[in-house]
Amino acid sequence: MELTHEINDDVVHIGIKGKLDSRTAPSFEERLMQIIDQGHKKIMIDFARLDYISSAGFRVLLFGARRLAESSGTIALFGLQPKIRNVFDIAGFSSIFSIFSSREEAEKSLKA
């Protein structure tokens, strides 16, 4: 798994590539919590190059979303591959997370 992140205005863009499973979830968790600890409230995550997500990866996303919710922040996800989207649907997570088809839509929702 590879992680990138940059900050534009008050929105944090996270890019994630490869497999998000129990082996890679800890480093994703560390990065995400760092960003949240720094007080950022608007986070968008680019899933376009994410090929696999296990429940360990979902746990980190949920943890991030719950922590952000405490400070009225939000996470917007976009670019999910159909296979990944299907896993979100099975677990019912499509109704918990804000999922967008493009970067622009995700950005617009965060800036609204």
Binding site: S55, A56, F58, L61, G92, F93, I96
Partner: protein
């Protein structure tokens, strides 16, 4: 605590030399020297001073020589390091000593500066070995505890098959293989009354110890709630409300809770974000249960759950599984997938619950072909037995 160094030499004047040269280290409490005149005495001193880090020993001594001592040290004190003192040019003894595990050597006449450096190196090495040994012991301890945890964990799941020998209308089998010593998958089944059987399969996020703890809580809480007789959807809603508050670090559990009526084959189920169970009909068709509203348990405080219903005929089989089955990978990084799962079941139509369980596990293992198991693997099979059986 000073580092202890045992000096073994039959010439007592070495003691004077050492004490003078390492005066500062001795006074600062950094080094403590112990002396022996030969190998036999050295072993006695070691017994009295168990925490010696380095032994500096001459080779030629009465009673027990340095090479014999070295062999004994290797056996009895594998952590401490030995430095050999030998005559300049006595290469054959030096080679023998190094081959027998001496850490280093110094030659006579002793260059005290070099001796200082050699001792520092030997002490560092001895401490590293001590630390490594300690780490290894800690690891063994943890492994033992995990072994116990693993036995406790498997003992809380029903393990006796057939579980209800006098209930000839149902045939149940299950198998569970955690990816590590303990896992986050579980299954369960229990009679709610004389005719209705509660069936559960669950998969906690992640694996290992955190998942195992959450698994134990989820499994127990679900069973206790189910036994009050609540319908599946209400049951999931109730445990979701509580577990959502208890969940740490975003942990969640996907699960299916179903109630099977053994009189008429009706199955009523609710789904907390789990893979939909499959029905293998007696004619070999495989169908997934219909999707129903629901979210993984403990993921959202606002989750709502609805119920689905499916009719099993005699000879039909219900197969519940976790994604360790469908997402098993082989060495080419291909996924077992739902397609292969359905095909495997279709090929085993007519088999008993145990045959289907074992056959499916064998199929997945054969597919993985030695690739490391990445997730816990669980399957639970319920066959509604034919009249003829």
């Amino acid at each position: 605590m000073p580092n202890k160094i045992l000096i073994v030499d039959d010439e007592p004047d070495l003691e004077l030399l050492i004490n003078m040269n390492f005066k500062r280290e001795i006074r600062a409490g950094q080094y403590q020297f112990v002396y022996a005149l030969n190998g036999a005495e050295a072993l006695d001193k070691l017994e009295a001073n168990g925490d010696v880090d380095v032994v500096l020993t001459d080779i030629n001594m009465p009673q027990m020589d340095g090479l014999t001592l070295l062999a004994r040290l290797n056996e009895q004190y594998p952590v401490l390091r030995t430095v050999i003192v030998s005559a300049y040019g006595d290469m054959s003894n030096i080679r023998t000593a190094l081959n027998r595990g001496a850490f280093d050597f110094v030659t006579k006449p002793i260059d005290l500066q070099d001796l200082g450096i050699t001792l520092t190196k030997a002490i560092k090495e001895a401490e590293d070995r001590k630390q490594a040994l300690q780490n290894q012991e800690n690891l063994l301890h943890i492994q033992n505890e995990l072994g116990v945890a693993s036995r406790i964990q498997s003992s809380i799941l029903p393990r006796t098959f057939p579980p209800f020998p006098d209930r000839t209308e149902i045939d149940i089998s299950a198998a569970i293989f955690p990816a590590r010593e303990v896992g986050g998958d579980f299954y369960d089944f229990f009679f709610l009354d004389a005719h209705r059987l509660g069936i559960v399969i669950g998969d906690v996020s992640g694996k290992g110890v955190p998942a195992a703890l959450f698994m134990a809580v989820s499994r127990t809480f679900l069973k206790a709630t189910a036994l009050t007789g609540l319908p599946p959807a209400d049951c999931l809603a109730q445990i979701n409300r509580t577990l959502y508050k208890e969940s740490v670090a975003g942990m969640f559990v996907t699960l299916i809770y179903a109630i099977f009526d053994t009189r008429n084959g009706e199955l009523i189920y609710s789904n907390g974000g789990h893979n939909l169970p499959l029905v293998l009909r007696s004619d070999g068709t495989v169908e997934a249960l219909d999707r129903v509203e629901g979210i993984a348990i403990a993921a959202s405080g606002k989750a709502r759950f609805s119920e689905g219903r499916v009719q099993l005929q005699r000879g039909d089989v219900l197969v519940l599984y976790t994604d360790g089955i469908s997402e098993a990978f082989n060495l080419k990084n291909e996924e077992f997938g739902e397609e292969r799962l359905a095909t495997s079941l279709r090929n085993m139509v007519g088999g008993s619950a145990k045959e289907l369980t074992d056959g499916l596990i064998a199929e997945v293992n054969g597919f993985a072909d030695g690739a490391q198991q990445s997730d816990d693997l669980t399957v639970l099979v319920l066959r509604y037995v034919d009249w003829e059986d």
